[in-house]
Subunit: 242 residues, 4 copies
């Protein structure tokens, strides 16, 4: 493909505006930490959008120019307008826009609309070790990973994670406190592709990690649209000649 | 299991109240045609509920006494209250209530909430032949079917059918006009089971067909809840002793 | 179902015949430890079979009287006759016989024939803690389990586990040494059902554990055949009237 | 990707050597008809191999230089050496070589080894119409297809087709005689990708059809290896520091 992949990184961008740990770790916002690495990819064109912009930064013009949308949200899921969330869902289903859902966005409106489940899970902010194991070697999302990688300090997420059975389970997490989690999951929905990737608590420098960055960049490439499909729906005449 | 399976057959029940073909075919309503056969099963206890009853006939008391909900709707999907549709979804996810979705209920609110897709498809009311082929011999839903069965007159539904890839594809339809359709599909969602079964246009006597009745009865048994799960969600202490 | 489920527990039965740890833990053989609990189930009829019996104890008469076959093997996989392994596979595909594959039987011939992958994994005999987490609450295989259970001493199995993506992932394991594993997996193959369940190293008393026993008994029930399918294959006349 | 995709088209090449219909339709062999179109793709490098060459044309050197193997076979499946079939399977599992399986190769050794099922189906050489419907719009394999395409004359293949539930069902066939078939199916096995595509009876000019050619070329691209995985198997030391 000679055309660049157009990625929009969306962030709630609330935690980082208040003084404290999050602002220290991500002074320009989580979206900028993610976008920084994606901008360094020669095959990508990157923009960002945040909750408090008009239309949450997701106007039709922006979405028209978005191949893959990366989503980070946490405390303000409910402030996302239903119409915007539905628009994101419809772009995935009908236009094949890719959606990369990060960490606490397991409770975001677009993700829950596309999954149909509650997204519930266990969590604990203990900052202990997480080890991510590859369950699908040879999958493009883990192209640059050996068979595991380690994050020294992360929030714990534990099973049961209430999602539909993933089409593909790519990564599993081990946590020092005794839990496990399906941390890299893919689903097709309509013409589009959805990738959920677990790591990324706001108080840890996870989005500067080399392996995490590889997985996100690979996930964007994997979720690239394959061209809007050309399907006729509803009332239909038989194609058999009479 | 000595306890009977408690099935509630829900019907929009609008077509049948107007004089015409539908009222002739289903004088007591589609729900009664379906319920009649289920009542004849020795392992089932059957009730019905319809749109125009208070709470659409789906009070908490009724849902508490429902193991599997069968759903038929067509022209009045939008009149189903969002709160009732959400309640049905939550019973499936959290309590493991089974949901058997029939024919035009591919556009019903509870089904779309659980799937996350548009449910769109092709259709044509030509009343020609449909042949249903078993793609999963040995599956409990097709226990009493050989490897296909025929409906002489049915409405056509054609692909693309916008659903998540089924966990199991049990039946495929052939239509005389040249189309095919995924007609028997299963999904797990949360603790519950969802079965979509295509046949059943209101102007044809489909719900009196022996094979259709077998599939619906088998589908109810397959979708039976396995007991409400005992899962802890949200904030969680490590179970590792210190 | 009034008829009892006919379960045959197959064991390599070599480790236990030599003096040492295994013989101490399983003096009558691993098969007897497993069968003991299944015999206590009111809905099951249980027999055992072992490698060194004629036809490995799996004559046609025995297989004809077997609804579900439980398989434990480890050091002598290669001594299983190819014809017997193929017979087991064919019974699963064509007759819907259930197959419950335990622990080191991930390398057994019948399992590999049905999967088509190498079955490779990581392992370490450290005897440390394993925690099994339910990823599919409401699934019949974990009917009597809360949302996890603990085995104080087990061998470690780690990802990547080279299996086809499971139809359903029911249990995930956490190991004290840092690994994770897909420990409860289901697949449909032909008319039959296959359940792989990880725990059960020969030097630990795993098959006396209450939760392990529940999962095995539930797994046998889940894998019960649904009646041999009635499918016509090969040359076929059109069913459309002329 | 600047590097070209290295495709090897394998053909049994027996039918075409005898005078008759097949030799008329495919005078240079089915492999050359397929290769002709793939050679016209700017991103591919194509070679062919046939049964009667030494090592069936699949020496280690050839396989080392093969990213994706396309396989057509029919009457001589049994003449393929077991060691060669096993080598193909192992390249798929361990090196991520893609495998595109065409028409009657549903009974070929490499395919059956990777699937674990019998591959059985119904068939009839009636030369009537086949219509292929897209069930996964937006999938790269159907990139250049609208929502269906027609083959005026083909052999019929009908369900039940004894395969593991496909990871993705991409195309469904309708046949004029009343049957349906899962005609475009994908599976991941180990590090590799397998695509089965139904059309292509030796007496019809199917492999000159524009849409069939698109699907095969797209299928090769979809099945491209993602780099040999770097996984440690077997005995494993804990990565947790002591």
């Amino acid at each position: 493909m000679s055309k660049k992949l157009r990625v929009t990184v969306w962030n709630e961008y609330r935690h980082e505006k208040k003084p404290g740990k999050v602002a220290e770790v991500y002074p320009k916002g989580i979206h900028e930490a993610i976008a920084e690495d994606l901008r360094a990819q020669s095959d990508m064109e990157v923009r960002t959008a945040t909750l408090d912009e008009p239309e949450h930064g997701l106007s039709d013009a922006v979405l028209d120019a978005t191949d893959v949308l990366v989503w980070w949200g946490h405390m303000a899921h409910k402030e996302v307008e239903d119409t915007i969330a539905a628009k994101v869902r419809d772009r995935v289903l009908n236009k094949g826009m890719g959606l990369v859902v990060l960490h606490s966005a397991h409770m975001s409106k677009p993700f829950l609309l596309l999954m149909g489940t509650s997204g519930a899970l266990k969590w604990r902010e203990d900052g202990l070790k997480e080890i991510l194991w590859v369950t699908k070697p040879g999958h493009p999302i883990v192209k640059d990973i050996n068979d595991h990688f380690v994050l020294e300090h992360e929030e714990m997420y534990g099973e049961h994670f209430d999602i539909p059975e993933p089409d593909e389970l790519v990564l599993l997490s081990w946590f020092a406190g005794g839990e496990v989690f399906r941390s890299g999951c893919t689903w097709k929905r309509g013409a589009g592709s959805v990738f959920y990737f677990r790591p990324g608590h706001e108080t840890f420098p996870t989005y500067y990690d080399k392996n995490v960055r590889s997985v996100i960049a690979n996930g964007c490439r994997w979720a690239a649209p394959q061209g809007a499909p050309n399907v006729t729906y509803w009332k239909y005449e038989s194609i058999l000649g009479k």
